[in-house]
């Protein structure tokens, strides 16, 4: 029941969260001067469970569900009003084995986020990221007279820039709540041709080889510049943290929703829901 609801309506969840957050930012960011901050540096880790509802129209007629682990690592510096984060994210999920083929997904990337305080609780700014969504469909149990024909792979890669915002609210007894969103505006996306996994540029040059020489170079040449009508990678997270220790380290839980969408000849949609254990280790000198 929950899966069905997520497949049908879940794609709107991060978008709804984004809109809500932007509305909150707009409603509360009125003429309140940001506070001055001392320079702080911290290392964040997020480890936990990820659920994906994904569909690649050239490989499947349906959304499939995959479950697995997610690991994110980030380094953050807070310098006065500026807040910069550079980080890596990676997840690995598998679908159930009720189908003739089962998918192993790898979803990872790198990001840089730069925001400024416009209010004591609110930061807005931009981000840049690069990532890849790779699916390996294992269908080794399908056999025909001439072999094992079902196994294949597909991929989508992107590099994007966009807007980001976060809202932080201190609760009682060292607890805090934070809420952040990222919304891409412009992206360079790489996605293979309609029914082939060869990079687009590899097939456009008028030559072809089963040897696949030069395929890596052609992979990077195959991209297109896209905007939000053809590419979306919205991420929203809600986090509750508790400060501890003399250096104000933090530990808590994070819920993260994301919606990755590639339009065009080979559409891809991937809705992710994650529950992550979060730690923020403050490495600044006291």
């Amino acid at each position: 029941m929950i899966n069905q609801l997520l497949r049908l309506y879940g794609r709107w969840l991060p978008i709804a969260l984004t809109s809500t957050c932007l509305a909150v930012v707009a409603a509360t960011a009125q003429n309140t001067p940001p506070p001055a901050h001392a320079k702080k540096r911290s290392i964040e880790t997020h480890i936990g469970y990820q659920n994906q509802q994904f569909k690649e129209t050239q490989q499947s007629s349906i959304f499939r569900q995959a479950n697995g682990i997610s690991i994110n690592v980030a380094y953050t510096t807070v310098n006065g009003e500026r807040n910069q984060t550079i980080g890596l994210y990676y997840s690995q999920t598998k679908t159930d084995k009720n189908f003739a083929s089962f998918a192993n997904n790898k979803f990872g990337g790198i990001f840089y986020n730069h925001v400024r305080a416009i209010h004591k609780n609110i930061h807005v700014g931009g981000y840049a990221d690069a990532g890849v969504f790779y699916t390996y469909r294992d269908a080794s149990r399908i056999t025909t007279l001439w072999g094992e024909p079902g196994t294949n792979f597909s991929y989508a890669a992107w590099s994007s820039v966009g807007l980001s915002a976060s809202f932080n609210h201190d609760l009682k007894k060292n607890w805090s709540l934070s809420y952040s969103v990222r919304l891409p505006l412009l992206a360079y996306t790489i996605r293979p041709f309609y029914v082939e996994n060869y990079p687009t540029a590899f097939l456009r040059d008028g030559r072809f080889s089963f040897n696949e020489e030069g395929i890596v170079k052609d992979f990077f040449k195959s991209g297109k510049v896209q905007s939000i009508n053809n590419f979306m990678n919205v991420q929203a997270s809600l986090e509750i943290l508790k400060r501890f220790g003399t250096r104000q380290h933090q530990i808590g839980l994070q819920y993260q929703a994301g919606y990755l969408f590639f339009n065009g000849l080979k559409p891809l949609a991937n809705l992710t829901n994650q529950i992550l254990l979060t730690t923020k280790i403050n490495i600044s000198k006291p």
């Binding site: 709107w12 978008i15 509305a23 569909k55 007629s61 399908i142 007279l145 024909p149």
Partner: protein
């Protein structure tokens, strides 16, 4: 504030795409999804002279939501067989039941190649997929059982072995070879050429329209060592020589010292991608095709230069007419 709402509305609509809806797993939906996939991606509809909407209508009349999964599988398989393409397949959730078109229908193919053993005598086996022998009159015989990627490297050793034995003619026997990695066929041509040679072209489906293709994309073989000189090469095929075996036969049409003897190949001149249907079945549909240097399709089979077929009686008697023809072939006559 109105800009925020405007942004929200834009976000809600920009990611709409009909293809990203979730179809039901009812039999009619499964059938429709499979038929749509075939219509949009199958690359040789014109060659097979098929009007897919007519085929769809014919089989759609046999399906309703009360049909059993077994019956649905049968109807979907029969519809798939209309393509007459041995690369297209349908398989159930467990991979236990598969439907593949039998491209050898209407041809006699010997159950195995045991009669050939009466001619080749003592042989050497190179792992699982290559058998070689040096026959009388310095004829090198190579039986290639399957185009297995992990053993492709053995071809160089096999041809060095042939060169060391100073063979005057080579027979490459790919009868009943079901295919495998087509790269091996492209590379194999490289041992029989002295300069880069165009061996064919590929066309790939680029969109849903029936004429949407990318191509021609040129396939070129580059010279490889050891080169055995300008000796005659005889390619031996039967109707069960499928896929990469047909590619090899098609590519070797570009090589002047190759003669093709035997039965027409089984075809299989394309590649395919599998596709998951709403009930967990997987259907594989051919989405590209190969043309030889003369611009001919190999999908329906590559016709030999010298047509020779074995009969059931030959098999009973342990006779192999095809191999006899290959052994006795004299390039100078």
């Amino acid at each position: 504030m109105k800009y925020i709402y405007l942004l929200g509305c834009v976000l809600l609509f920009v990611s709409c795409n009909d293809e990203l809806m979730q179809p039901s797993n009812k039999p009619t939906s499964v059938f429709d999804q499979m038929s749509k996939r075939i219509e949009e991606t199958y690359s040789m509809m014109e060659l097979k002279n098929l009007d897919w909407p007519t085929v769809h209508k014919q089989y759609r009349a046999l399906v309703d939501d009360g049909i059993s999964q077994d019956s649905l599988f049968t109807v979907c398989s029969l519809m798939l067989f209309e393509l007459k393409d041995g690369h297209c397949f349908l398989t159930d959730n467990n991979g236990e039941k598969s439907a593949v078109y039998d491209f050898t229908q209407g041809y006699y193919v010997t159950p195995d190649l045991t009669p050939a053993l009466n001619y080749i005598g003592e042989y050497k086996q190179w792992r699982n997929f290559l058998i070689t022998s040096i026959l009388e009159n310095d004829i090198g015989y190579i039986n290639y059982i399957a185009f297995n990627k992990s053993e492709a490297g053995y071809w160089q050793q096999v041809l060095e072995y042939m060169k060391n034995n100073d063979v005057k003619k080579i027979i490459i026997d790919v009868r009943s070879n079901p295919g495998g990695e087509p790269l091996i066929a492209q590379n194999l041509c490289g041992y029989f050429i002295t300069k880069p040679t165009k061996v064919g072209t590929m066309f790939h489906k680029s969109n849903k329209g029936k004429n949407d293709f990318i191509g021609p994309l040129t396939l070129t073989s580059t010279p490889k060592q050891p080169y055995l000189g300008d000796i005659p090469v005889i390619l031996l095929t039967n109707r069960a020589s499928f896929s990469s075996s047909s590619y090899l036969a098609g590519m070797m049409e570009a090589l002047p010292n190759v003669i093709h003897i035997g039965q027409i190949t089984g075809g299989g001149g394309g590649g395919f991608l599998p596709y998951e249907l709403p009930n967990g079945w997987v259907v594989g549909i051919t989405n590209n095709y190969f043309l030889d240097v003369k611009g001919k399709h190999i999908e329906l089979g590559v016709t030999p230069d010298i047509l020779v077929e074995n009969t059931p009686e030959d098999f009973e008697e342990g006779r192999d007419r095809m191999l006899e023809a290959a052994i006795s072939y004299n390039a100078n006559n």
